[in-house]
């Protein structure tokens, strides 16, 4: 197993994006550290596969960030170099949005506001079976426009799903602009608290802080569902992508690919020819 180094994870995302000429690079980049910490410590027991019946569930409700999850699955050996470098080739299995037919992806999302409810159901199932499984559900701040997200949070509180940890990827952007411009969420942490979640906020790119707060939330006593607002930067990790919403849609050219890979290599990532 590899170390989920954030620079290498971003390079894997770039490889996929270049191979498939895909969009949504920036949507994946805001999730990298969050997923690295989760996969390193809080999801599968070492050596277990994606279908391990005792696994903790990672529900990517924000399906647009799926390349970040593929990069982690590549680190685990669940995906091969061929899967990465032939992304979007005819007849391949990895799609541009989360798809539950892929082992390791728990939900089919991309149409937003679905995954959190399925995660609520998984958490309820675990409670009823008396297992100790946790559900980590990652929701985009743009996705929080969807009414179903708030239905799910109401339900999670009412049924005391303390094994559900809802993580908001608060990168401040959605497809057409900032969340402030498009549909102002106000103070998202206050909203989660108002819905009955035991809520924390964290710098979503500080791995030590993420690990600390996730560990705290997991072990916190009480029957409230848990919420974590991860303040992130859309496009984090590559200087010319960070905070620039055009990288929700822009495809990599040869030049931007090389520049981004080199910048990550200079920060400790791998040097690619």
């Amino acid at each position: 197993m590899r170390t989920f180094d954030s620079h290498r994870l971003r390079q894997t995302v770039l490889r996929m994006s270049k191979a498939g000429s895909t969009v949504h690079v920036a949507c994946a980049f805001s999730l990298i550290e969050m997923l690295a910490v989760l996969y390193r410590k809080h999801l599968n027991a070492p050596g277990t596969g994606p279908d391990d019946p005792n696994r903790n569930y990672l529900v990517l409700s924000k399906g647009h960030g799926v390349m970040a999850q593929y990069a982690c699955m590549h680190e685990l050996g669940w995906l091969t170099d061929d899967d990465i470098d032939r992304y979007f080739a005819d007849g391949t299995k990895l799609k541009g949005l989360s798809d539950a037919h892929v082992p390791g992806l728990e939900v089919t999302s991309g149409s937003l506001g679905h995954g959190l409810s399925v995660g609520v159901g998984l958490a309820l199932a675990a409670k009823r079976k008396g297992t100790n499984q946790k559900v980590f559900a990652i929701v985009g701040d743009g996705e929080a426009n969807e009414g179903a997200i708030w239905e799910a949070l109401l339900f999670a509180s009412h049924f005391h799903l303390s094994n559900l940890i809802t993580i908001i990827d608060a990168n401040g952007f959605q497809a057409m602009g900032t969340t402030h411009e498009v549909m102002d969420l106000g103070h998202i942490a206050d909203k989660l608290k108002a819905f009955g979640l035991e809520t924390r906020e964290v710098d979503g790119h500080n791995e030590a802080a993420l690990d600390r707060v996730l560990t705290e939330l997991i072990h916190l006593p009480g029957d409230k569902p848990r919420g974590l607002v991860a303040h992130t930067v859309k496009g984090k990790g590559v200087s010319f992508m960070a905070g620039d919403n055009r990288w929700h849609y822009t495809r990599l050219s040869d030049e931007t690919y090389k520049a981004a890979m080199a910048e990550l290599a200079g920060c400790g990532g791998e040097v690619h020819a």
């Binding site: 539950a100 037919h101 728990e106 939900v107 089919t108 999302s109 149409s111 506001g113 679905h114 995954g115 959190l116 409810s117 399925v118 995660g119 609520v120 159901g121 998984l122 958490a123 309820l124 199932a125 675990a126 009823r128 079976k129 009414g147 179903a148 239905e151 799910a152 109401l154 339900f155 009412h158 049924f159």
Partner: protein, 314 residues
């Protein structure tokens, strides 16, 4: 019929702790026995149908056998995307109960009436659609639904129209059930609430065969075409739009395996205009016995005219 559903649910829940009922704050009194006998397997998910279906999907993924109950105007129509993505794409064993299908809520208006639910679901892969006509069929339908490891929609329409079968019929996926034998020129295929209307109207055409169609999807196309092929023309009756429901399905089957003349009796691509009793609205939509007879007579005249102008034989 609703009591047969409630009894089947309680029986399944008692014998299998994985069975859980989710309701969107509907079903007053219907679940009294369920709540008394298996209180831990009853979940009121509140007035939040989208989340309810997602939760059902998560429960099914976690090994449970959810039954999702709602009015058919909301389950499946309001939550069609959740059914498609969260449940059907993974072919999860979730049973959806759509109560009050058709124009049962005659006085409440369009929001509670549902004449497009079958059409909406027929195109969703992995979903089966069952539509019982009486309490015995409901018992058979629930047995079939609980025996399935895939998504099933049970359409529950007007529930107190009387007995069709003296015993619980032998129900198999894709097959119709014979109700009245006959070798006359007409065969009548009816589903759900239109079964009694079919039997009553068919009396004007002696020798009519009448079949009940509790399984709308899957439908065994060769079986349907073979049954239709024994007669000169077919009448299909449903309390649903003539677009996308049983009539369409029968036309699809026969057009490939044995083209024939089909009179599709149903709601004519429009909303209910007025308020009133169930019987009143059924008359408004020309789904009462006298209106059905008139439609069939007109259809047979039209068929005769067309055949004499353009004979099929060379």
């Amino acid at each position: 019929m609703r009591n047969a559903f409630a009894a089947a649910l309680v029986k399944a829940a008692r014998s299998d702790p994985r069975v859980v009922l989710l309701t969107g704050d509907h079903g007053y009194a219907l679940f009294d026995e369920m709540r008394r006998v298996c209180p831990g397997q009853y979940i009121n998910a509140g007035v939040a149908e989208q989340n309810m279906v997602g939760v059902a999907a998560g429960l099914a993924k976690g090994g449970f056998r959810p039954v999702v109950y709602g009015l058919s105007a909301f389950v499946p129509v309001r939550v069609l995307e959740q059914i498609k993505l969260d449940v059907c794409y993974e072919s999860l064993p979730v049973i959806f109960m759509g109560d009050g299908a058709g124009v049962v809520y005659s006085s409440l208006g369009t929001s509670h009436q549902s004449t497009e639910d079958v059409a909406a679901l027929r195109g969703v892969p992995c979903m089966s659609i069952l539509s019982p006509a009486d309490a015995s069929e409901m018992t058979a339908v629930m047995d079939l639904a609980f025996s399935s490891a895939r998504p099933v929609y049970v359409r529950m329409g007007k529930a107190d129209l009387g007995v069709v079968h003296e015993n619980i019929p032998d129900l198999q996926w894709g097959r119709m059930i014979p109700v009245q034998k006959g070798a006359g020129p007409l065969v009548w295929l009816a589903t759900g609430s239109m079964m009694q209307t079919a039997l009553a109207a068919a009396r004007d055409w002696p020798g009519s065969a009448v079949w009940s169609v509790p399984c709308i999807k899957p439908l065994d196309a060769e079986h349907v075409a073979a049954v239709c092929g024994r007669h000169e023309a077919v009448v299909v009756l449903e309390e649903h739009s003539v677009y996308g429901g049983l009539g369409s399905a029968v036309a699809e089957c026969t057009s490939t395996h044995g083209p024939t003349w089909i009179c599709r009796v149903g709601v004519q691509d429009r909303f209910s205009r007025y308020c009133g009793s169930y019987d009143y609205l059924m008359r408004e939509h020309k789904l009462d016995v006298e209106s059905v007879k008139a439609q069939v007579r007109d259809f047979l005249i039209m068929r005769q005219v067309r055949q004499s102008v353009r004979p099929l034989a060379a």
